[in-house]
């Protein structure tokens, strides 16, 4: 085979890959016939399920934006609100740094905060398994009440159902929330611009690893705590400092930083480049990931946010985050560029380059 032939062959293959990649971007494949645990991982399979089942059935402009919360105007009032819902099935129910109740309050507050909203009211729905100890329920509910009080939100409506033993795992919680958007922020995962900086509010992987190690199977002793926290005061400080310079906010929960950034890259048809050495990871989380063969960038967080900020506002945004107790370890971890669209890549610690894909499959079932 001559060199010219080879080059032509490579060009053909490159074109072929690009065609498939383009097709994949616009058409998610749902080939599965049954729900598997991967569909709940928050990664690729979840996307395939949403795009294959829910999105076509429910399609409307609010849902189709695929942001953490829907935002809309209230007829005639000129006021915008954000609305979101989330369900919590974490196992174990109590873990270092938190419990299912605290998580259920923080998670919904954070989805509202990522829309630039001030969270106001939450609902709480409980599915309880026959035989579940009331003392545990009380502990969880007290923890929810405390988390709501500390965040300045009220749980204003609720629902309870009990199912037969074996039909649920102790307790499942659903929360929904509404918040008010005071300024007309233009936030969303379709608003990234080439040149924007990627900011991360602190270390990654703490929640997912804390949950994993809390499960009995692993006898690894560490001090890793879940990072669960309400982020609305941090987003308020950030928006006040950088204003319109903030283009997108996202809390990297299931699927981790890798999945959140891939969603943004796809949503805005841009590329995102990260510097591995700039990404804060606690030593113990890194150690646990090395032992278990996991990538901290695909591990869930419950108290961290990613902010995409215009380059001229990146420094003030970083300063505002670092002045907030939940953003002390904030860092600029990368930037947005035009090409190749829809891709996230990482400049590795050793000086190489790799593509950072969404989470495929599920290393850690039921983490939130």
């Amino acid at each position: 085979m001559s060199t010219t032939d080879n080059s032509e062959r490579i060009d053909d293959v490159l074109k072929k890959i690009e065609r498939t990649r383009q097709a994949r971007r616009h058409k998610f494949y749902l080939r599965d016939e049954k729900i598997t645990l991967s569909h709940g991982s928050g990664g690729k399979s979840t996307h395939n399920l949403i795009e294959g089942v829910f999105a076509p059935a429910f399609s409307n402009p609010f849902l189709d934006a695929m942001d953490d919360a829907a935002t809309f105007g209230i007829h005639g009032s000129g006021q915008r609100v954000a609305f979101t819902t989330d369900t919590y099935v974490v196992s174990p129910l109590f873990f270092p740094g938190g419990d299912i109740g605290k998580l259920a309050v923080h998670g919904t507050i954070n989805d509202l905060a990522m829309a630039g909203a001030v969270p106001l009211y939450l609902s709480a729905g409980f599915i309880l398994e026959e035989g579940f100890p009331i003392s545990d329920l009380r502990r969880i509910v007290d923890s929810m009440a405390l988390a709501a009080r500390e965040a300045g939100v009220a749980i204003v409506t609720g629902d309870t159902k009990v199912v037969q033993r074996g039909k649920a795992d102790g307790i499942f919680i659903n929360t929904a929330g509404v918040g008010i958007i005071h300024a007309n922020w233009l936030l969303g995962q379709s608003r990234l611009q080439p040149g924007d900086k990627v900011l991360l509010s602190g270390s990654v992987g703490d929640h997912g690893i804390a949950i994993m190690l809390a499960r009995e199977a692993l006898e690894i002793e560490t001090d890793i705590q879940s990072d669960t926290a309400a982020l609305h005061t941090l987003t308020a400080a950030l928006l006040e400092a950088a204003g319109d310079g903030v283009h997108c906010l996202k809390d990297p929960t299931r699927g981790g930083v890798a999945t959140s950034l891939n969603e943004m890259a796809l949503g805005s048809e841009v590329a995102i480049g990260l510097d591995e050495h700039a990404i804060p990871v606690h030593g113990e989380v890194r150690g646990a990931c090395e032992i278990l063969g996991l990538d901290p960038l695909t591990i869930a967080n419950e108290g961290k946010l990613l902010a995409i900020v215009a380059p001229d506002k990146a420094e003030v945004a970083l300063k505002a985050m670092r002045n907030h107790p939940l953003g002390r370890d904030a860092a600029i971890i990368g930037s947005v560029q035009a090409n190749p669209p829809g891709m996230v890549f990482l400049r590795t610690d050793i000086g190489g380059m790799r593509v950072l894909d969404m989470l495929v499959g599920d290393p850690l079932p039921r983490i939130c």
Binding site: T20, K34, G283, G351, G352, V355
Partner: protein, 382 residues
């Protein structure tokens, strides 16, 4: 836990310096080196090591991913056991998604089979103790790295008389696979990066035939980026000096004689199969282990009736050639058309770490370096 040592094996400045030395020693001569172990392949992709190396060094990803080399028929057998009444089927997490001819273990789980993932066969034995009314089967896969822990678990099950536990044994040996690759008439490899964890068990001596009979250097390497880059330096140095020896870069872990106790445990509980099928490579004699007759009561292959059918890899699939470094993934007839990560045909496209899946997903980058490689260095056959 103090993980600081990791950083010392990831110093970009040191990586560049060694890479420059490799470039000097190899004098731009194109060299194809195979990393036998899937763990090395993972490190190479995760850290983008190919970008750091000189362009003339070509890494071929060998058959050392135990998940990829397991033939479809064995996965079908595993699923058949998992679907049986009263069975709790336990496996390592990465085995859950690998497709058999009709779906994966994850699909079987969604269908109602009790499939659980464990981190060690001892966890599976613990499950057997906790559920005396159920039958716990452990899906044992892997090279000499994981076989000793299966051996110890079998011995413990026998000693404690735990009768509701058994092992579906699929352990394979790395040396026969290397032999098969070396005996292949279309071989185009210049040296081997030896598997670190396997060598920790088997030691250095089993590799001697590679250096002696085939005149190819072998350097056993660790799993950090600098381990691999240094091992490549040591191989290139051997080639430059006209030597072919077995060397040990991973001396902080691998001892020349290996781990005698682990080898004894394996010998007590398992014996060689006459032959075993490898996905992409076909049947290889004496390349896998089964449970010894003394442990028949804990051998799932004897306890359960499985289909035992051979499911042939499709004819068009050229995984065997890819694994031997004869062709690049994109030179395969079905690459990117019939065979994609969504609809994999061959083993190399199945696992995300497989050479073809990596080329497909990360094509833009690897192809770019491929192109510049061609511009700088016309291939030997052109």
């Amino acid at each position: 836990m103090n993980m600081k040592y990791v950083d010392e094996y990831r110093d970009p400045e040191m990586a560049r310096r060694i890479s420059n030395e490799i470039a000097k020693l190899s004098a731009s001569r194109p060299l194809k080196l195979m990393e036998v172990c899937g763990g090395h392949t993972h490190t190479i992709y995760k850290h983008g090591i190919e970008d750091v190396l000189p362009q003339n060094i070509d890494l071929i990803h060998g058959p050392g991913c135990p998940v990829c080399v397991l033939p479809m028929g064995r996965i079908d057998d595993a699923i058949a056991i998992a679907r049986m009444e009263d069975v709790i089927f336990t496996t390592f997490g990465d085995m859950m998604r690998v497709p058999g001819s009709k779906g994966s273990l994850l699909d079987a789980k969604a269908d109602g089979a009790d499939v659980r993932f464990v981190y060690s066969p001892l966890d599976a034995l613990k499950l057997a103790r906790q559920h005396p009314d159920r039958k716990v089967v452990f899906f044992a896969i892997g090279f000499e790295t994981t076989a000793p822990s299966t051996a110890v678990t079998l011995m413990r099950a026998k000693a404690e008389g735990i009768k509701n536990f058994s092992v579906f044994c699929n352990h394979v040996n790395i040396i026969p696979a290397m032999k098969a690759i070396l005996d292949s008439p279309d071989l185009r490899l210049d040296g081997f990066i030896g598997a670190g964890h396997v060598s920790m068990v088997i030691g250095m001596r089993p590799y001697n035939f590679v250096a002696r009979d085939h005149r190819k250097p072998v350097v056993i390497a660790g799993f950090e980026p600098l381990d691999i880059i240094q091992a490549i330096y040591m191989i290139v140095k051997q080639i430059a000096e006209g030597r072919s020896e077995v060397e040990n870069q991973y001396s902080r872990v691998v001892r020349p004689e290996g781990n005698v106790k682990a080898l004894q445990a394996m010998a007590q509980t398992m014996e060689l199969r006459p032959f075993f099928e490898w996905r992409g490579l076909g049947f290889i004699t004496h390349s896998a282990l089964k449970v010894r007759p003394e442990f028949a009561d804990w051998d799932a292959e004897l306890l359960y009736e499985v289909p035992g059918l051979r499911v042939a890899d499709p004819k068009a699939c050229q995984c065997g050639e890819v694994l031997k470094g004869v062709i690049k993934p994109w030179e395969c007839k079905v690459f990117g058309t019939a065979c994609t990560p969504e609809t994999p045909i061959g083993t190399c496209m199945v696992s995300p770490e497989g050479a073809c899946a990596a080329y497909f997903n990360y094509g833009r980058f690897s192809m770019a370096s491929e192109r510049s490689r061609l511009n700088i260095l016309p291939t030997a056959g052109s």
